[in-house]
Point group: D2
Chain length 348, copies 4
Amino acid sequence: MTATIGMAVIGAGYWGPNLIRNAMATDAIDVRWLCDLDLERARSVLGRYSTVTATDSYDAVLDDPAVHAVAIATPAASHFPLAMAALDAGKHVLVEKPLTASLDDGRKLVQAAQDRGLVLMCDHTYCYTSAVQELRRLVQGGGLGEIQFVDSVRINLGLVQPDVNVLWDLAPHDLAILDYLMPAGVSVVAVAAHGADPIGHGLACVGYLTLRLSTGAMAHVHVNWLSPIKIRTMVVGGSCRTVVWDDMNPSQRLSVYDRGVDRLDPEDLGPDDRKQMRISYRSGDMVAPALREQEALRVMMTEFASSILEGRTPATDGSAGIRVMEVLEAAERSLLTGGTFVDMEVVR
Amino acid sequence: MTATIGMAVIGAGYWGPNLIRNAMATDAIDVRWLCDLDLERARSVLGRYSTVTATDSYDAVLDDPAVHAVAIATPAASHFPLAMAALDAGKHVLVEKPLTASLDDGRKLVQAAQDRGLVLMCDHTYCYTSAVQELRRLVQGGGLGEIQFVDSVRINLGLVQPDVNVLWDLAPHDLAILDYLMPAGVSVVAVAAHGADPIGHGLACVGYLTLRLSTGAMAHVHVNWLSPIKIRTMVVGGSCRTVVWDDMNPSQRLSVYDRGVDRLDPEDLGPDDRKQMRISYRSGDMVAPALREQEALRVMMTEFASSILEGRTPATDGSAGIRVMEVLEAAERSLLTGGTFVDMEVVR
Amino acid sequence: MTATIGMAVIGAGYWGPNLIRNAMATDAIDVRWLCDLDLERARSVLGRYSTVTATDSYDAVLDDPAVHAVAIATPAASHFPLAMAALDAGKHVLVEKPLTASLDDGRKLVQAAQDRGLVLMCDHTYCYTSAVQELRRLVQGGGLGEIQFVDSVRINLGLVQPDVNVLWDLAPHDLAILDYLMPAGVSVVAVAAHGADPIGHGLACVGYLTLRLSTGAMAHVHVNWLSPIKIRTMVVGGSCRTVVWDDMNPSQRLSVYDRGVDRLDPEDLGPDDRKQMRISYRSGDMVAPALREQEALRVMMTEFASSILEGRTPATDGSAGIRVMEVLEAAERSLLTGGTFVDMEVVR
Amino acid sequence: MTATIGMAVIGAGYWGPNLIRNAMATDAIDVRWLCDLDLERARSVLGRYSTVTATDSYDAVLDDPAVHAVAIATPAASHFPLAMAALDAGKHVLVEKPLTASLDDGRKLVQAAQDRGLVLMCDHTYCYTSAVQELRRLVQGGGLGEIQFVDSVRINLGLVQPDVNVLWDLAPHDLAILDYLMPAGVSVVAVAAHGADPIGHGLACVGYLTLRLSTGAMAHVHVNWLSPIKIRTMVVGGSCRTVVWDDMNPSQRLSVYDRGVDRLDPEDLGPDDRKQMRISYRSGDMVAPALREQEALRVMMTEFASSILEGRTPATDGSAGIRVMEVLEAAERSLLTGGTFVDMEVVR
């Protein structure tokens, strides 16, 4: 079929098996290879019943003319050379977050994909959950009013990474979601970061990010590898309504509150009204919108296939990946300078 | 009875009614006056069936020789003159948080009480909940091991205060609890603060505090007046165990997790072990200790009475109030300088 | 004021203190006496600061011409003589549940109050919570459609009563709520009950009630004194919407689900449609209505005062108490006959 | 390998795909066939990348000498002929619940398997969750003391079945778990059932089961297809401790409470102690045991393979399936006779 995309998945570690399972379940995709330097691991991931071919030769994959696209889930340091080689071989590319290990490399990839007319997509999985998609509709449709604050918590007993701190490991999720939610024209203007390494690991295991948005609102992210309980909550506070997204509550992930604080227009008040009287409180109903059950990774994979077939930019393209990395880069500088706000212009 | 303390409550606003109700329920206390500049309000708080006398004359209260102690629940700006006058009249003093509006005034009060041999106590109510008392036993008894991080969240749709920001309004609770929990010798060494005022109120309505402790650990506080949901959670992470205190879950306020990340001693490892292998994970049981049902304010009031009768320092004395204010003062300076860490020495 | 009702509270045990506190807070009521056979207990409940008079003489109370109404919170066996004496003395009467110890006595009270033109009210406290009042609006306003099932759970580690089983102790709450919710014309037609006494107490400590309603729907009640956790949940399932009332979740007591199962009209289906196809599923949003914060007992006391002042029947009058007792009486018979359904006609 | 069991999965409907996925992941099993009368459905379940063979010929499966065992997930009516044919062909058999459509057929299967020395296993999946396995250790190890009551709730917006009522559809789970938990020698002695069909479906959609156990304790099961919320909770109350299993709370499925009511030995009390004084209350800690993360179906499949290889009876064998069906049969009779208790001897 001309409308079927031949695909290879690169990397059979933690995330690769999820990519290959969802690619195999996507009608428009024909999975041909699973490639890993550790051939036994690739074979083990495929199992005893699969017709997909395991290989440890990336060249063989790129030489296969039936491969139109690669999905890369290898350690971050290898993202750039693998993706650039694929683009050079004329293949569309999907890359696990983070896009690359350095901003410069990321920008080169984006440019290369653009020059060659190929799709470069970031696997910002959370953006494809039904909760985030509904949240985006609420934010961008104006239902929340003006965004006043965002607070995101992502903590659990996590795998302490040997080579990156907790901000680079976990905050990309929050930043990718924030990037996806915000209306066009809204951007991060400054970032401050605090981190702590209470276990003597050598890198921060607990981290806090504070972001100033171009609207004047503040966003805050708390990530932590050491928490015995798992919390994944994002509160998006608006002038009209506020949404609480609790990803650990499958029966009620989104709660939209018609509650808040309003500041009354001073012109509507007499000269003697006290400051306190300029505030009013709303306490209306809460609505938990019905959400479709869907596996985010399947929706993401379908978006990758569709963007290739339709020759368009995917929802979370390379540029989205770059914007996330810019914030992390600024956070890194803030950590080194004792937590001061770093202007985003410095890293752009 | 010689063992009964005659008391007057000053202030019939938001908190005063709670103080008078609990004072009346305390055997060792004989409540004689409720004093407020607004006499009608004082009368209304007492109701139609009370034998306690309402007054708008603070002088009358201080002139009453049967009054041995006053409990002050007036706006912060009046704490200093009212408390100092009471000390000058030889009365013991209980003050609602914050102790005073300025650090200097607070220090004068502490000195004055000490000079006169009178009790000066801060109403740090949360310290008298059974949850915090159990938490303190766990921290100070060593059951948690070395404290690695503290994360406190106190957010809800709150009364936006006309004259103080959200840090001064809500964070005193978190800071008083932290002060009460920490073992002797542990102190705050630096503070950074971020705040936002998304509703154009003129003062921060959303605030974040980051505290560096003398042990190297980090504590973080999130306070917010604009949240439609009420969250009051404190996680105290230790090297042995971690406690989650969820004050909104009355059936399970404290959860003690035997879960965490351990760093193995490098001497126990061979030369070829990778960095990643130096970490091990514990995943044991969780215990929710049985807690006594008690009204914190009643326990606090009993502690006030006992400390007077026994001539000793109360658990949350004026100095505890000073330590809380010092952190807030440092936070204020950090806010003004863009969120940098402010050394606590600057405010001490 | 002529519009003030002089009141005496009878009984200073578990519930009496709540009644007197709320009566004292009700403007239209003037509390004059607290009466208990144990005078010291009455004095202790009033405390050291009250102008209300403690007494152990019920005669003195009834002889006081300024007493227009009595609120009775004594053991069930004494409800009938105390209430009848009060009615004979021309006083309005509020009685804690259950109305009386026997159905016959209850009916005599209702008749006596009616003959004398006096208010006889049952303290069915839960009916005055904002949750139940909103639930009633939903049921009676038709928002739920036809009621299909009701399931109520009321379990906790309760005080094992020496003289009544768990059905008589706890189920009156559920039955009073059900009586209050149901639209006019809907009644209980049969009752089955199962009970167990696993601790050898002599009376059932675990109980289940199954009620057949006149509409064909089924209601079920589970009460249990031995449960270590406290659950108070009622699900009211309707053909249009279903409400879950979780009284242990103060931030979201009511959840109204636009979810359910619809049976399609067979006339709309072709002859070959299978049985399974006659069912469709709705999965819409959930709404948690904003509820006023109110103390139910205060609202109940105001209703008592208003019904006296306005010369009208209160919302939970003696007849409501009778209907609750009739179900309990039928349940008792079902227990004795091995759990068969007992027709309500037998006890009416 | 001689230690590998050749397997065929029969039925590619709702449950079959789960069976085949877990069989494929089990080392000791070699999956050879997926058989369904609808060949396209079988092919679709296998997908485009599988080496397993789809077939619509059960004969071909049974004729394959490399097939040692079949796993049957077809409609209940076909369980008996398919399983009996497999046993006749010398194959071990795993059957989805319920074992068969009638008790007689079930008993014939058990006898046939026994006669031929073949394994006959029921897929009582829940018994292989780590929660139920821990619960069993607690019950059978005596940690709970004497079992006093069991209360199980399994409600959600379920698929209304065209041919069985909600008791036959959902209660087998609760009954299989109960059968697995109870110590040897404890059995069900009588069953009462209530059901309602508020949507005019023709079969009960809401059901309640009450079981009298041989120890005198009572067990109760509530199943419901019409509930908008999903509740899966089982409380096992013991004289020493009580366990709450909440399957919808993955972070704390089991909570073991050291709380309860004790009846004091009358010999320890003086002659004047009132009945009420013979009760004491325990209010100790709660422990949530750490549970292994495991897919129950994988554990079940491993047990099937192990029991074949080791020539032993599996944990949930055909007799367990028979015991579950006997309770359902008694429940059916109780439904028809208005909810009276039916003695289990009648159906044995």
